[in-house]
């Protein structure tokens, strides 16, 4: 088992960016037909390393050897030719092209320049069946959910005959049963002799699927563990990654008060065509309570959040601290204590081509310390940004760099820091720790818990069901715009929640099996 041929060998890889060393002396060898996980904190250099292996960036030093031959990749097409395929964390798909077009793009089967769709379809149908990767080939990608998009990405890579597959944080956007499907597909691929490089910071998932695990810390390879010969626990790995214990999202003791802070009744959001996205939903959140909403993405969570923030049109009554605020503008809601951690930080949370301290002002531009009521006060905003960077451990050279220079997890920490700094009374948190490493995750959880203790009401949406169960006082399951079940976070398991989210279990109390 231990002496299978080596598929990928990286030796002494260095990569420097202005002001940062992304990779320093990376050494890695991956056995053919194995699942090799690479774990590390945000900004540890995992993604840079994979970009180097996929030819998107060139290493400053070091060699790459594929199946015994040393290679130099000028571009991804060289890597593709060498049999390497990559499934990116942010899917690389064109929404307005069909699934088929997305998959064959760049390697179209043609006859005198004309695409032979039938040939491609036959081949793909066979591939899809072989690995259980079912997708509707003639639909537009814009019509499909994340699970299907990921299957498309994997098919895309397999279609090109890749024998080495790089998956960058593949489970970040999936619900539990989709993760199971992905893992069973990965097992099939492994059985066919395909080598899989699996980047993640979800340690229990890594332990479930990987054959070997390499830990990267601060740009260097710290250790490689063979799971067949060595025993290692999630805590051991976490310690190797950050030098600290694995945190849990558990909240201790209830802080729910009897003061209703948010009272939503009959909230509905319709599409332009009149189809309900959120269908007559009512709920209450008390001060000091965290209401968790569980659901597969695209079942109305985003619309509920947007409606409560007042950025999309909705019907229904929203009472905040005893006052009907349905007609309030988003600005006024913000000023009166609404905090907002958006689901898509690149789209709603940050201006990427803008400095960190200017991003600190966003959404709070009328409040201290960003403004004196008439003019902006950049000096105060800057010193407050420095405080956030410090308190929330945002890894950045300084506060004048563009937000785009930060890794995803660090961007998220900046947003959470910004929103908590205005002492909100009501926080809308969509995936507050998405893409954040274990250390920072613990810090964010701590901040949320502290705020909750002092009476913060939170509407929490998360695809991470452990987080949802651990932080929430109440959980409601959302399916096709309606609440279909309530769950008790003290007793419910992620599996039960996952089942309810996909609509297998109908309207009843889940988690109370006793």
């Amino acid at each position: 088992m231990g002496d299978a041929p080596i598929a990928v060998q990286l030796t002494g890889i260095w990569k420097r960016f202005p002001g940062v060393i992304a990779n320093s002396d990376i050494n890695l060898s991956v056995r053919r037909g194995s699942v090799h996980a690479i774990v590390g904190e945000n900004g540890a250099g995992k993604s840079t390393l994979m970009k180097i292996l996929y030819g998107m960036q060139k290493p400053d030093e070091g060699t790459i050897t594929i199946s015994g031959t040393e290679v130099i990749f000028q571009s991804p097409s060289d890597a593709i030719d060498a049999g390497i395929g990559m499934v990116h964390q942010h899917f690389m798909l064109a929404d307005n092209l069909t699934v088929l077009e997305n998959i064959i793009l760049g390697s179209e089967p043609t006859q005198r320049g004309v695409i032979k769709n039938e040939t491609a379809l036959t081949r793909l149908t066979q591939l899809a069946q072989q690995y259980g990767l079912d997708v509707p080939f003639n639909s537009f990608v814009s019509e499909l959910g994340v699970g299907a998009r990921q299957r498309i990405e994997i098919l895309k890579v397999l279609y090109r005959g890749a024998s080495i597959l790089i998956l960058d944080e593949p489970t970040a956007v999936l619900v539990p049963h989709e993760v199971d499907e992905l893992f069973s597909a990965l097992s099939d691929l492994k059985a066919e002799g395909i080598t899989i490089l699996f980047i993640s910071h979800k340690l229990d998932e890594v332990l479930a699927i990987a054959d070997d695990i390499t830990v990267i810390r601060a740009g260097s390879t710290v250790a490689t563990v063979n799971l067949h010969t060595q025993k290692v626990s999630a805590d051991d790995l976490a310690e190797m990654m950050v030098g600290s214990e694995l945190p849990t999202p558990e909240t201790r003791g209830s802080t729910v008060t009897d003061k209703v802070l948010i009272d939503v009744s009959n909230l509905s959001v319709l599409t332009a065509a009149g189809k309900p996205l959120v269908d007559d939903v009512s709920f209450k959140i008390h001060a000091g309570e965290v209401l968790g909403i569980a659901g597969v993405e695209g079942n109305g969570q985003a619309e509920i959040v947007d409606a409560l923030m007042g950025v999309i049109k909705s019907t229904g009554v929203l009472v905040y601290d005893g006052e009907d605020i349905s007609k309030w503008s988003t600005r006024k809601r913000r000023e009166q204590g609404f905090g907002f951690i958006p689901e898509d930080r690149m789209r709603q949370g940050l201006l990427l081509e803008t400095s960190l301290w200017e991003n600190r002002m966003l959404g709070h531009q009328t409040l201290k310390p960003n403004s004196n009521g008439f003019l902006l006060t950049p000096a105060d905003a800057k010193s407050d940004t420095a405080r956030i960077v410090d308190e929330y451990d945002v890894r950045t050279p300084n506060i004048d760099v563009f937000a785009s220079a930060l890794s995803g997890g660090n961007q998220q920490k900046l947003i959470v820091g910004r929103e908590m700094s205005s002492n909100p009374k009501f926080l809308l948190a969509a995936h507050p720790t998405r893409g954040v490493d274990v250390g920072a995750q613990a810090a964010i959880w701590d901040h949320l818990r502290m705020a909750r203790q002092s009476g913060l009401a939170v509407l929490l949406i998360s695809a991470d069901l452990d987080e949802l169960i651990g932080l929430s006082d109440t959980i409601k399951v959302l399916l096709r715009g309606k609440f279909v079940a309530d769950a008790d976070p003290l007793t419910v398991t992620p599996q039960e929640l996952g089942t309810a989210m996909t609509g297998v279990k109908k309207r009843d109390e889940i988690g109370n099996t006793s």
Binding site: M92, N96, T110, G113
Partner: protein
């Protein structure tokens, strides 16, 4: 609605439009509304608009908003006048395409390689195209016999044009009978085969060819991917920059060809201000046509038709106003059925007002009458635009290796 296939829907749309047009013709007592002459002229005016729109389509499909079409078209008219005057109409066509292409190459260097904002660069091309054409015209034509500071001497000879008599003539007779719908269809088809310029035929071929290339070949798929998701395309080893260049250059050649039509077929000289904003209208028809060749073609024909009627009898304008009113009212009823109340009511009110205006005056103020068709078009567009599917990254600068 959604269950029907697109071709059936287009056919239904076409027949309903013809029916309304026929009703308008009968009530306005103007057979000229759908006569062969009107239709032939409409197709003629549609050609430069359609070519410009097709040019816009090529570049936008690769993610570049080409607002510089107007400037490239002006360069085209100069190229056509200058080369056509010296070496005949065929050379004129070649000259126009070359000049349009030169404008496009400049535009591509600035927008694709240097990532300059496409609207600003396009506007600059428009100003530059206009100024350069005026300057070159002064140099080339001032002392030429039959030319002037802003006008070239006539192009030597004509491009061939065809009339297919055995189709055009019997249909023309049928049109003159004034039968409901049938005569209107006959007039329209007859117009298609009457005094057909070589460039008009070429335009139709180019439309079909564009649809085929962009949606059937691997070249087309790659070009479209550069406009939909350049970062995805790049990770699959596609040279995004190359495809953007190709698309913009094709776009400029088509704009140049539109200029050739104006200078060689429309008139037979280059004249300053000849394009009269058709580049912009072309861009609008492309949006009207949902970034697709078929839709762009239909849009160009509609604009060409409106243009034609304004050049002809005033009675036609009345007919057109009535037609617009009927379209709005028909849309209002369709809208009411599917529950879009506010817009539908607005349509109903404007439509009824237009009908009132039509009944109240036998000789409409030409200014009012002339804007009515455009108002109608705008209103129709305002409702249609909710379902548009533009290329995802049109207008955005792309730098190589930007994919994150």
């Amino acid at each position: 609605m959604n269950t029907k296939s697109p071709s059936i829907r287009i056919f239904a749309f076409f027949i309903s439009a013809m029916t309304l047009l026929s009703i308008a013709r009968i009530f306005a007592h103007t057979n000229d509304l759908t006569s062969r002459g009107t239709m032939a002229a409409a197709f003629g005016l549609a050609v430069p608009i359609g070519l410009a729109g097709l040019g816009g389509l090529w570049s936008e499909r690769a993610g570049i908003v080409n607002i510089g079409l107007e400037g490239m078209m002006i360069l085209g008219t100069f190229g056509a006048g200058w080369a056509g005057w010296q070496w005949g109409p065929w050379a004129g066509v070649l000259g126009a395409v070359t000049f349009g292409m030169l404008g496009a190459v400049l535009f591509a260097i600035v927008t694709v390689s240097f990532g300059v904002d496409q609207i600003i660069a396009g506007t600059a091309i428009n100003i530059l195209g206009l100024g350069l054409a005026q300057f070159l015209a002064k140099l080339a034509f001032s002392n030429a016999p039959g030319g002037g500071q802003s006008q070239s001497p006539p192009v030597k000879g004509l491009l061939p044009s065809v009339t297919i008599d055995f189709i055009a003539n019997p249909l023309n007779t049928l049109q003159q009978k004034g039968w409901f719908v049938i005569s209107d269809l006959a007039g329209m088809i007859s117009g298609l085969f009457y005094h057909l310029s070589f460039l008009t035929i070429l335009t139709v071929i180019l439309f079909v060819l564009t649809a085929w290339i962009l949606w059937r070949t691997s070249f087309g798929l790659r070009l479209r991917s550069a406009g939909e998701s350049p970062s995805a395309a790049e990770t699959l080893g596609i040279n995004v920059i190359k495809y953007k260049y190709i698309a913009v250059i094709i776009s400029g050649s088509l704009a140049g060809l539109a200029g050739a039509y104006l200078a060689i077929v429309g008139t037979n000289v280059y004249r300053g201000g000849q394009t009269a904003g058709r580049g912009y209208i072309g861009l609008a028809t492309m949006i009207f046509g949902n970034w697709r060749p078929m839709g762009t073609g239909i849009g160009a024909t509609v604009f060409g038709y409106i243009d034609t009627l304004q050049l002809r009898d005033n009675a036609n304008i009345r007919g057109l106003v009535l037609f617009g009113a009927l379209v709005l009212i028909a849309l209002a009823f369709l809208g009411l059925r599917s529950g879009v109340r506010a817009t539908s009511l607005a349509f109903l009110i404007i439509g009824s007002a237009l009908v009132g205006g039509f009944l109240a005056s036998t000789n409409m103020a030409p200014e009012v009458a002339q804007v009515a068709p455009y108002v109608t078009t705008l209103l129709v567009l305002a409702t249609a635009s909710q379902r548009l599917r533009p290329p995802a990254t049109a207008g955005m600068a792309y730098r190589k290796g930007e994919s994150r």
